[in-house]
Symmetry: C2
Subunit: 298 residues, 2 copies
């Protein structure tokens, strides 16, 4: 698989196909495990999605000429963690969602207990994959990847953000509070996605630049999500606001208005692109991700 | 802290106190994280317990002269994983328990969403702790510990055992099936507890012996648990069988009868003790754990 020379949608699709094949192979290792929970893990993982995080891992890894099989293992581990967070987030005691991407959520397709265990299993497998010698010959690199992913996913990262999000339903958040919530809930994993390729390559002096890119990119994506939530629904007759607004959740659009939100998302995408200017044309796909963040309609 | 020369209950208590101090310190690192979920993590972790798994980690680590701070970090990480499994197991969609050790379970004391997230946070932090350079200077050892714990806790270990346990409520298990269920659900973590000290010491040629010890010990503990469940309740007027039997769960006692179950538990404890004979008097505490497994009344 080569992503150089492909246009952005084709490159995104090529990585999605490759990481789905990798995840399928990795889940195959669990074939001797009890079937219902592994079946639920497979169902959750292969339910589609843009595979944005794997794309960032693979694209940054390409920038530093990391062997593709190593990048795909890290991309798969990260997508397992992202998927686990969706499975637990959808539970009745959390967001209580019946559908995700038009398909029944894991607890609707299977049952709640299986959804809890499938999420637990995906999170656990992710660390297993990173720590496996097949991911990198140097144990210190493997341990560093484990540590960074655990920090990004744990109480000081995604789990902390989810806890803030639960509390936010009853609180009046301002922009600073939403920034903090999003930086933990979704930003931390995006940062890992952007840093992992450099960690795999041992290029630790580029982590700050990649972190700045990730931060701007993650926020641009989030504001664009808020805009899509509003405008997607606004297109439907008699339904001017989307799910977040209906739930009374503070969003960028609710606090800033759509015009200012759009302006900020664009400025963030430009800031993200300028962070990777350093690498010139080799970073073309990373610039296109930033452009995609604010231009996409899905 | 010195455990040599103490009698067994004192040695067990000393390790419990030391690992509780370690866990408290490690949770202190999350003080900047959102408070409700870290509060729930602390509540779950510090709710007491025999701290058997930490005792096994520390005792085996002592056998190989591993520096105590390293052993305590691994012991704390393992206890985080054990605690996470209890928090998720107690959820309404799983065993639906309101009390654990006489205190409200996490979802009763806080709420279900917080309990899910607290469990997720504990599991994630465990890998963070193992991968941290403070646990061992050699990255390959840290990655090996991560991998072994992930295997023990994941779909081919504890999560797989929990899935079998859910399915067992509707199935008629025989002794072979119960052995498999217990070997996954509780045996895998006990095996990690017994192996970790040797991994920390780089003594990989003793893992098989420690694994055999762990296997016999884990099974002895489980049969003794089944016996206590039956006999504890039998002592109460008009209540001849315990919770497992009431739920129609197959147990060793139900399948073998109390006399044969007791005989097997004792034989397993003796087998465990004989596995560590190799180390002579230095393994005295490991032999006492085996004795304790079948003699305890709690």
């Amino acid at each position: 698989m080569v992503t150089d020379g492909l246009d952005f949608p084709a490159a995104l699709g090529a990585v999605a196909a490759a990481v789905e094949a990798e995840m399928t192979a990795l889940l195959g290792d669990d074939s001797e495990a009890p079937s219902r929970v592994t079946e639920a893990m497979r169902y959750a993982v292969l339910a589609g999605g843009k595979r944005l995080r794997p794309f960032l891992v693979v694209t940054v890894a390409d920038l530093f000429e990391v062997p593709r099989p190593r990048a795909l293992r890290v991309a798969a581990a990260l997508e397992f963690v992202h998927t686990y967070s969706l499975v637990h987030d959808d539970l009745p005691c959390m967001d209580d969602d019946d559908l995700r991407r038009g398909q029944p959520t894991v607890h609707r397709q299977f049952d709640e207990a299986t959804a809890v265990l499938a999420g637990d299993g995906l999170l656990t497998r992710a660390f297993d994959i990173l720590a496996d010698p097949a991911t990198h010959p140097d144990g210190a690199v493997r341990a560093d990847l484990v540590r960074r992913l655990a920090l990004a996913a744990g109480p000081r990262g995604m789990v902390g953000g989810q806890a803030l999000d639960l509390a936010a339903a009853e609180a009046r958040l301002d922009i600073a509070a939403i920034n903090r919530l999003q930086s933990l809930k979704t930003g931390a994993l995006i940062r890992f996605a952007c840093e992992a390729g450099a960690v795999l390559a041992g290029v630790n002096d580029q982590l700050e630049r990649l972190g700045s890119y990730a931060e701007a990119l993650g926020l641009a994506f989030q504001i664009a999500d808020d805009l899509l939530d509003t405008e997607g629904d606004a297109a439907e007759l008699g339904k001017a606001v989307g799910k977040d607004a209906a739930l009374g959740k503070a969003t960028y659009v609710a606090l800033l208005g759509p015009d200012e939100a759009r302006r900020r998302a664009r400025a963030l995408a430009e800031r993200a692109a300028s962070e990777v200017d350093h690498w010139g044309p080799r970073a073309a796909l990373l610039k296109e991700v930033a452009e995609f963040a604010v231009r996409r309609r899905v």
